[in-house]
Symmetry: D3
Subunit: 135 residues, 6 copies
């Protein structure tokens, strides 16, 4: 089920084809996952989304690809996005995340969630030493 009709033959539209070709070239594989097939209903939204994801996640940056995927998963878990958790866990594994690293990621996320809720319950004043304008 979905709230948007999956586009039949999306690559008949040259803008969609250009994005799909770039996804394949960037990832080095033919498979295009469902997200892009559905986003093809609006080529501009497809282009913008791919441009952003590619710039942040596929281009070489300061952090290594595996770490970037692990941060992405952490946000997706907290935002309760099933598709995102699935797709980025698969991506992290393909970029080398071991089962032990996956378990450690879960442990950090779970501990953060625990203290996030504790602090939002306590509503205590923030220490002045944490202020970047003071440091």
């Amino acid at each position: 089920m979905s709230t948007i009709k999956r586009v039949e033959q999306p690559e008949h539209d040259p803008r969609v084809k250009a994005v799909f070709d770039d996804i394949r070239a960037t990832r080095g594989k033919d498979y295009i996952n469902n997200l892009w097939h559905y986003l093809a209903f609006d080529p501009a939204l497809l282009e913008e989304t791919w441009r952003d994801v590619k710039a942040v996640m596929a281009a070489p940056t300061l952090l290594d690809p595996k770490t970037k995927e692990m941060i992405y998963i952490a946000v997706s878990i907290a935002n309760a996005c099933p598709y995102c958790v699935h797709s980025h866990t698969a991506a992290a594994k393909s970029k080398g995340m071991s089962d032990a690293e996956h378990a450690e990621l879960l442990r950090i996320v779970a501990t953060a969630a625990r203290t996030n809720h504790l602090l939002n319950a306590l509503q205590i004043p923030i220490d002045e030493v944490f202020d970047a304008d003071v440091r």
Copy 2:
């Protein structure tokens, strides 16, 4: 303001003193941030919380300390916990996170949030290739 009264002289309680001493020894500095002063209202909750945070964040594990703090920040942002974002951003900086790495973290978190919302709007089927039981 807070929902719990800050404990006066928390270290008069030996259980609290033991936790505070361990926090100081583990972190190698005297300052005890507000969280622990307030949690001291219930020594058992203080002990459990410190035990968990120490085991995950202070003990040597597979991921390096800076990366662990960055994942912790990512979750805390998504869960909208001001205290947690402040304290763990300060911790990440003390463990070596540069401004450029901080900016990259924000970029990943913002991009993940964007696609988390897009996917939760589209509600599309999850690709079978993402299923760990199939892979």
Copy 3:
């Protein structure tokens, strides 16, 4: 699957029948979606929920029906409610939301999510000019 047993023959209860009849009359169609069939397990909760939704979404108010559904979808996406996203996207389409408007809604929601996370990461002071008590 559900956490409540779907009520068999819900309209045997006159309070449920009255709500179902009003839903049909208000919407001008016979189909009653699953939400109401399940809420029928507690007629008072069913009545209250329908009363609220009807007053806000079905009665003529300042905003037009399509815009109201788009705001409803935006909240439902951010709260990660699959059923709500599905039902209100269908409602918005039945009230005239085009695919282009749907794409624009997604773009606004995604951009808001991006800056929501950025700002919750930065934790910066709020400009005094935004204070309604000052304006």
Copy 4:
């Protein structure tokens, strides 16, 4: 700061005065907290909000008043609402919640948050035995 201008002399409006009088009578005290002063900018919204809160939280129901406040706090923590956490923690205390019960509430909320994130990370199939339609 606020996004709505605080109403000066709200009780000059008879609809607002009626709500304020009912709040005082229901709670048995004169103090009207800020929420109602600000909501007074729209008497209909004020009336609806008080009607709902009163029916659920102030009227005698199956659950005792302290337990109801504790559930309310739990939701407010997870939704990251500082005002709500403050006002309902104060309410729970006035209805008898001890410090030890408060600590236990925090422990349950923190544990739930931990497993909520773990499960949203694992995305595992839901056991059929949990289906209310099957039981």
Copy 5:
């Protein structure tokens, strides 16, 4: 589908078997739900998770078991965790939650969610009388 491969024969690992045996003994029934089968991929994470859940939810504490499950459900709803809502609703029912109590829980959660969003929209100042340090 899941992001972790379900462990085949998890009880061949003595650490997993010890946890499973303790779950069975604590709950007084043979059925082990999916969560623990999947967490078995990392015995340490399995042990920690069960230790926490058992200490908070299975050991006798100040609050009765049914109330604790209702608070757990409230958090899980707000955090949008389908598995958690299912498993803890089933647990609450097995500990005596009636349909009427379930409906009341939903009513409190829904009312809290309503005011959580209202207050996060108004962003009003928190009354000083709510400050635990002042009281």
Copy 6:
């Protein structure tokens, strides 16, 4: 307080000055709110953020500017972002949102939050008629 040091003299950097000039020209006023002053710590992140916000919120699109701000506010409330709620409520007012429209927005957001939580509690099956692939 903030997690990033506010940039002194941000417009000494020509990339920052270009963005600030464009913000002033686009909005037709001199005031630059805090967000942009803090984002100036990383000119690339500043540029990307402004580019996105401008394209979606400042350029003429299908929806009128006031409606777009109201949708933005709705998301920001649900994501519990105080800065965003403040800045976009001010923006919506400057684009014509009346107090009565503001109240209606709050009513829709509150009703959506209520049913979002109800549905995430019920976990009921989604009606097939909502599936866009079927319609």
